[in-house]
Amino acid sequence: MENLIALLVAAPLLGAAVLLCGGRRLDAVGHWIGTALASASFVIGAILFADMLGKDEEHRAVGQHLFSWIPVEGFQADIGFQLDQLSMTFVLLITGVGSLIHVYSIGYMEHDERRRRFFGYLNLFLAAMLLLVLADNYLLLYVGWEGVGLASYLLIGFWQHKPSAATAAKKAFLVNRVGDMGLSIAIMLMFTTFGTFAFGPVLEATGETGEGKLTAIGLMLLLAACGKSAQVPLQSWLGDAMEGPTPVSALIHAATMVTAGVYLIVRSGEIFNAAPDAQLVTTVVGAVTLLFGAIVGCAKDDIKKALAGSTMSQIGYMILAAGLGPIGYVFAIMHLVTHGFFKAGLFLGAGSVMHGMNDEVDMRKYGGLRKYMPVTFVTFGLGYLAIIGFPGLSGFFSKDKIIEAAFAKGGTEGWILGGVALLGAAITAFYMTRVMLMTFFGEERWRNQPTPSPAESDVEPAAEHRGTHAEPHPHESPKSMTIPMIVLAFGSVFAGGFFGIGDRFLHWLEPVTEHAHGHSPLSATTVTLSTMVVLVIGVGLAYLQYGRRPVPVVAPRGSLLTRAARRDLLQDDFNHVVLVRGGEHLTRSLVYVDHTLVDGVVNGTAASMGGLSGRLRKLQNGYARSYAVSMFGGAAILIAATLLMRAV
């Protein structure tokens, strides 16, 4: 049975290879191949899951060693897989949501002439992501880590002819690379500390080294997680990543890839457990991002960017939970899974809306769409209820636990973190209600809008040439798109309950991540009640703002905070001024230095040699007698030398 693990990765990898190398003749069937192989991977995952359920808790973790990858003196890197409950959870999430999104993309990308390639990239992403979660050592994880980065790069920039897409793709890759640097330094630290970087030996040996080393490793891992999961300060790429096709945003930038950071931290739990400082930093990062993303999400008018802010914020919850240590790991992963369902559903809904609205993304130009796209409305609505934590739905169970755990951290920290988490819940309710109201309720602001919005550049992606630029005719999306949305909505509704009631998920994951019950200063009921209260406040405020009053088509100037939030709280501006400008000046001056100084020294030497020989040339005046004098003088010197030598 273990031998199937490699197949999990191999199937989508094969798909990617076939689709990308296959050439035009596969254009007609490419999407089917891609979907089939993704589903195959899901089926294999399901078989392995069933097999795993059939075993005792102690024997559930299995591994498969393929071959020795980099055998060098004192350095053993292997290609080997490890499938335990944690990995299994991810495998099912990735292949499940992944397959659904493949199906969705068949419809969504129907008119794109490069659809085959799109499916190739999606398959590549699945393979890399599975490699990431199945690897049994950090170096192989790193391969998957960069592999998903590559797939993300390719998919964000899928409509490469749009300069904004190409720039966003590059930005995503670069910011991720900064995080990757953290991961590679962490691996190097592990190597020098433990002599290996396989999960097992490293995590077992954490007790044998000092806290300083572990804190350093933990912080570097956190840096990596920040890059991949778009946490402050490396969050800036996620908003721009929405340039990619919507299924990509749903799969990669909501459900799976961006949660890899959480996986990394939970997987390295032993290291963090032994390094409280690193944990503290992790929780702070999570808390800050949670608020950051939520605030950004409140201000964005672009539906996808609003959802991206939400994603950032929700992952902030997960990172916060992961930073709490054993009391939070399970809930981090649980929220991750439920978030995977409802956020993917929300994105697919957003895609469906855009599909029906001539690819308009500005929510101020939506409104009243519930009549035109009922299925989308219902599924999106269920996702909405799930994310704000409506009692009984997925988000309720998972988010509530995290807030509880935050309070359970204890001491002042616990109060602050818990408070932030609660505040975040309120803001989440606010901005998600805003999205909901602006899109599906209110007046139909898209009427009498013949001119295309400025958001649509003049170079339109071929896939989005669906309607004319005249008034949009909102309509429901085809079956291939709605079915995945329905399935995901189903997950959004029931997953949380399924996992949460009776602590099923906790028992499932506990053998891997350990679990400790924190001692919360507040009772569970109190937390739940206060969550309900902030929820109502958030929804109410949003209703007052967007439900009662008409939404202006042109965004009002807004307060200072709103304007800053629209610009991602000025972080991009900071990056631009400090890093981009500074870097440009640095490189330009270095080019100058290279040309004038480094090269100049050499060329200067050459020039001075030239000058010297120019002078010496004058000695060669062409007069035979002059030459004869030097010969004669030379003869005299020779005689003198001979005499001297004999005298000595």
């Binding site: 007698r625 002059s626 004098v629 004669f632 003088g633 003869a635 005299a636 005689i639 003198a640 005499l643």
Partner: protein, 280 residues
């Protein structure tokens, strides 16, 4: 003198030479040095050549004194007699009267040359003085069978190859000198007829320029001479008048007269038809 010197040869084995030779050395040596200096510093090359010839003759005497009889004679006959004469020929060829300026044109050349010369000389003398050269074997033994015979034996045995090669060298040099000085005519000299034909072909100015007044009916300076075909040649009027335009053209009358004259003479000679042809 030879006999006298030959008498000396017996004493050549000694460390020092006879007083006679010493006397001869100091006198002739002084003269030789003066001759050498004159060679260098005489303005006219003829004088230099003569001074050099003198020095060479003195050297010939020294050769004899050193027991090199054959070389002494050769020095006189070949060097002084042939080579120096060659020099004189060339001097004549280049110009015997030409006196060189002794002012130096290259900056610092003279001082450098004198400095080097002085230094070189001193060093050379120092070297000679330094060498232990007091042992003089003398040539009595070597010259026992006669100097010329001794030399001949060596030349035709030990040095025969060098000898042959120098022979070849001499011939090469002779040929080389011929090649260098000989100027090959690249084309045959033109005959007078060919030169005349060339002028006709070029058709620039067939006859020599006419003098003023040739064919003129008037001998005033402002009337141009006429070319054989009767046209006036403005070249025969002085430039001043030409520039002022004061040329009296009488060519029309002259041409008319000429035509009448030709016709008349043609009728008389019965060549009318040919003239007609020419007119056509």
């Amino acid at each position: 003198m030879t006999a006298q010197l030959a008498a000396h040869s017996t004493s050549l084995a000694a460390y020092s030479t006879s007083t006679g030779e010493a006397f001869q050395f100091w006198v002739l040596g002084t003269v030789a040095v003066i001759g050498a200096l004159c060679t260098v510093f005489m303005k006219k090359s003829v004088h230099s050549a003569l001074c050099l010839a003198g020095t060479m003759i003195i050297l010939a005497v020294f050769y004899l004194a050193n027991g090199a009889y054959f070389l002494g004679i050769v020095q006189v006959v070949v060097y002084t007699g042939a080579i120096m004469m060659l020099f004189l020929f060339v001097v004549m060829l280049v110009g015997v009267t030409a006196a060189d300026s002794l002012t130096e044109t290259i900056k610092g050349q003279r001082w450098l040359a004198l400095l080097c010369g002085l230094g070189f000389g001193i060093l050379l003398c120092a070297g000679i003085g330094n060498a232990s050269l007091n042992e003089f074997n003398g040539l009595a033994q070597a010259n026992a069978g006669g100097n010329v015979e001794g030399l001949a034996t060596l030349i035709f045995t030990k040095y025969v190859f060098a000898f042959e090669i120098t022979g070849a060298l001499l011939i090469t040099a002779a040929v080389g000198a011929m090649v260098l000085t000989h100027r090959e005519r690249t084309e045959r000299a033109k005959t007078q007829r060919e030169m005349a034909e060339e002028r006709v072909r070029k058709n620039v100015q067939l006859p020599p320029l006419p003098a003023p007044g040739v064919y003129a009916r008037h001998n005033a300076v402002d009337i141009p001479g006429l070319l054989p075909d009767g046209t006036p040649s403005e070249l025969t009027v002085i430039k001043t008048l030409r520039d002022r335009g004061q040329i009296r053209d009488v060519s029309d009358e002259a041409l008319k007269d000429l035509k009448a004259l030709e016709q008349r003479s043609g009728e008389r000679l019965g060549r009318g038809d040919r003239a007609e042809e020419a007119a056509k």
